[in-house]
Symmetry: C2
Subunit: 445 residues, 2 copies
């Protein structure tokens, strides 16, 4: 665990217990300050204690607080307003931060494994926790169609349904409605479409997207947006961001309790539109800001330009999420530009197809040269797969289409991604992010 170095101002007091509480996030600075003011107030009132020192304060806290745990909890909840973001360190524009939610902390820059249908494919929740996943993604469109919101309502929300107690971010379904479904009609209130599974007719707009995400009970919800294809004309893109902004406003008005809401910047490859979209969203005000509509077929250079252009326009004190990007050099560039959150099916989908990421580069496990290879997949990797199995065995499992192949490969790839992000976070703290970036850009292309 790499943890925020925020304890120095407390360690001056040399009160280990307090430090521990703060590190464990069972108490927060503003609340601590409030306590201190109350304490001073009481001691001044009573006038019995002449020289107030820290020992008195700690004694006071120990006497009063154990019985008021629930009050502390309630105040914390209200204070955090379901989510809090702190930047702990920066290196250039790269940010090392922490998102605090009621269901746990998310260290940023963060990679979020994708759990489309209420399961990260091939993984168990226990395995995800073991490899250090702090947040996963759920897909609103997919879960709405299968198993359906009625089922998830009955079965106690997405966390309970899938046995995952850590944070979940849900997309709004916008991307899938526009990319998977057969669209019949786009209106100001939403989209009429047909299910990609059985062709049944459905309608989702911003109100519906917020309602579904409320039922799913995710910790971070996304606004319902239109993700336009590449290339799109300036006129179409301009009209689209108007629609997306109006939808974002409706989403904000329908924000669910105890659920953070992120806006999504669109505007295609047009910088003017990106700027306008960003400003409109900031005016509405969100808990975090995502950049969507990139990596939709445009050339890499164009994508990188948009990423570097868009990042500094976003509020610095809120998490910045670059949607759907999982390529290592793209992610490194985006962190360099100031993005904090990422999601992609690359590690999981590639794993099932036998493409694995290692400290030696990208590897296709079916290669003939691995047939008799007794070495671990990645000699530098500490994952369960690399600790216990040979390349020869992994190749055999893959060629035999065994389920264990998909399990071991997915476990490795996700571990590799999460470990990569862990090391990246450390590099930002140590102000060596550019070295980190250069090193990995040459290894995994």
């Amino acid at each position: 665990m790499d943890y925020p170095p925020i304890s120095f101002s407390v360690s001056r007091f040399k009160q280990e217990r307090l430090t521990e509480q703060i590190l464990n996030h069972t108490i927060d600075f503003p609340w601590l300050a409030t306590q201190f003011i109350i304490f001073i107030f009481i001691t001044r009132l009573s006038q019995k204690i002449k020289h107030v020192n820290l020992f008195h304060f700690v004694t006071f806290r120990q006497a009063v607080l154990p019985s008021s745990g629930q009050i502390v909890h309630n105040i914390q909840q209200r204070y955090w307003n379901s989510m809090e973001f702190r930047i702990l360190s920066t290196d250039g524009n790269a940010r090392r931060g922490i998102i605090k939610t009621q269901r746990g902390d998310i260290n940023t820059p963060a990679f979020m494994p994708v759990g489309t249908l209420g399961t990260v494919k091939a993984m168990s929740p226990d395995e995800l926790k073991e490899i250090g996943a702090e947040i996963i993604l759920g897909n609103t469109y997919h879960l709405y169609l299968r198993p359906g919101t009625d089922v998830i309502t009955e079965l106690g929300g997405l966390h309970k349904f899938m046995n995952w107690e850590r944070p979940i971010l849900t997309d709004s379904g916008g991307f899938q409605v526009f990319s998977l479904a057969a669209i019949r009609d786009i209106k100001k209130t939403g989209v009429h479409f047909r299910s990609h599974i059985d062709g049944s007719p459905h309608f989702i707009g911003p109100i519906e997207a917020m309602k579904i995400q409320g039922i799913l009970g995710s910790d971070i919800a996304m606004v319902f947006d239109e993700c336009i294809p590449y290339p799109s004309s300036f006129e179409y893109a301009a009209k689209s961001i108007e629609l997306t902004t109006s939808w974002a406003r409706i989403c904000k008005d329908h924000q669910n309790e105890k659920q953070a809401l992120f806006g999504i910047v669109q505007g295609g490859m047009y910088k003017d539109l990106r700027r306008k979209s960003t400003e409109d969203l900031i005016n509405i005000g969100f808990d975090g800001y995502a950049v969507g509509g990139v990596s939709v077929g445009e050339p890499k250079e164009e994508m990188h330009e948009i990423i570097y252009f868009n990042a500094p326009l976003l509020p610095p004190d809120k998490p910045r999420y670059l949607m759907g990007i999982g390529d290592f050099s793209d992610m490194l560039g985006a962190v360099d530009a100031g993005f904090d959150m990422f999601d992609c099916v690359m590690p999981t989908r590639n794993a099932r197809n036998g493409t694995l990421f290692t400290s030696l580069g990208r590897v296709s496990i079916k290669r003939e040269e691995f047939k008799y290879d007794d070495n671990p997949l990645d000699p530098e990797c500490a994952c369960y797969t690399c600790r216990n199995y040979s390349r020869g065995y992994l190749r055999h499992l893959f060629l035999s289409r065994e389920i264990l192949s998909m399990r071991l490969n997915t476990l490795h790839n996700l571990f590799f991604y999460l470990n990569f992000f862990k090391n990246m976070r450390e590099s930002i703290i140590e102000k060596t992010f550019m070295d980190f970036r250069k090193k990995w850009e040459t290894i995994i292309t």
Copy 2:
């Protein structure tokens, strides 16, 4: 863990450490007796100690043994001759026993999960250990074709290859050669056939089967046999058991070091031939005896008749293995007849097809009635699946064809089988096997 109640004769001495060693099987009775004789001999020789008591013996052991751990190990290995079978308790003809191998104990009656291609489908070795699998099966024919014996040789044998350190039983490949492959020619020395995967020509006979099983390094090997179809004529069956017996003799002559070898009784549905086959095998002499060629399409009554007829013909002091039988009522009948070991793909294959075994009976998880069902699959089951997931979630995973569906279902079914056998073993010790049998025959039909 249900463990052999053999410690009473030692606990009389009230030497806890010794008891523990015996229970852990780090020391064995005959070796302990040998030690005691050596001890008496030395003390008599020296004549310094007048009244020898247990304290002196324990001191002697403590002083001498730590440095001679390897000697103990070697002697134990030679003594056990790679496998030892003890019957701990009986109830009628049902036997509660223990098979001791160098890689660990197998409590009988035992169910052996099938790991055809070097993996029990959908499971990790850790999960298998966690649910109490003490031995698994590997398929010689399949592993010979994929990944091939050259690969398994290079990668250190089947145990290391698949990361499973507990016992493995390998079939001889006979059954698959006769059921899966395209047979070209059956000779006295073996069978010419074509691979079911790519049509490539191969030859396996008793010598080859033993050689392959030696490379796999299984703890229990099976003789190469012909498994005849149902129905077969008396003449064909008679000719076949002559061939199978001659092959069994060759296998015995080629038995691998540190590997037990089981004979396989054949003879179709003809009792005379079953008797002859059994007698021939006993004359050759094996570490255990299997009954093959049942459940090949014959009516249940005929199968049960053969099972009850064949069991008492087998040597009572050797493990008895009924091959390929996994139906609960069949297994209960076979244990009642005196069988000790079972294997079947039923729990794993059915799991992948959504058919689950529970204390309430057999269940198809896709049933509409489970859609909103928040209950565990089996309220009486303590497996990971039942502890953490609802029927509604399992149904959703199955309908969505998620990999986690196959994992959770397989884990449950195997846990159910292994737990069923654990309870069955206890019932034999408590002499309540018939009650156990009656109870379960009505639940799972």
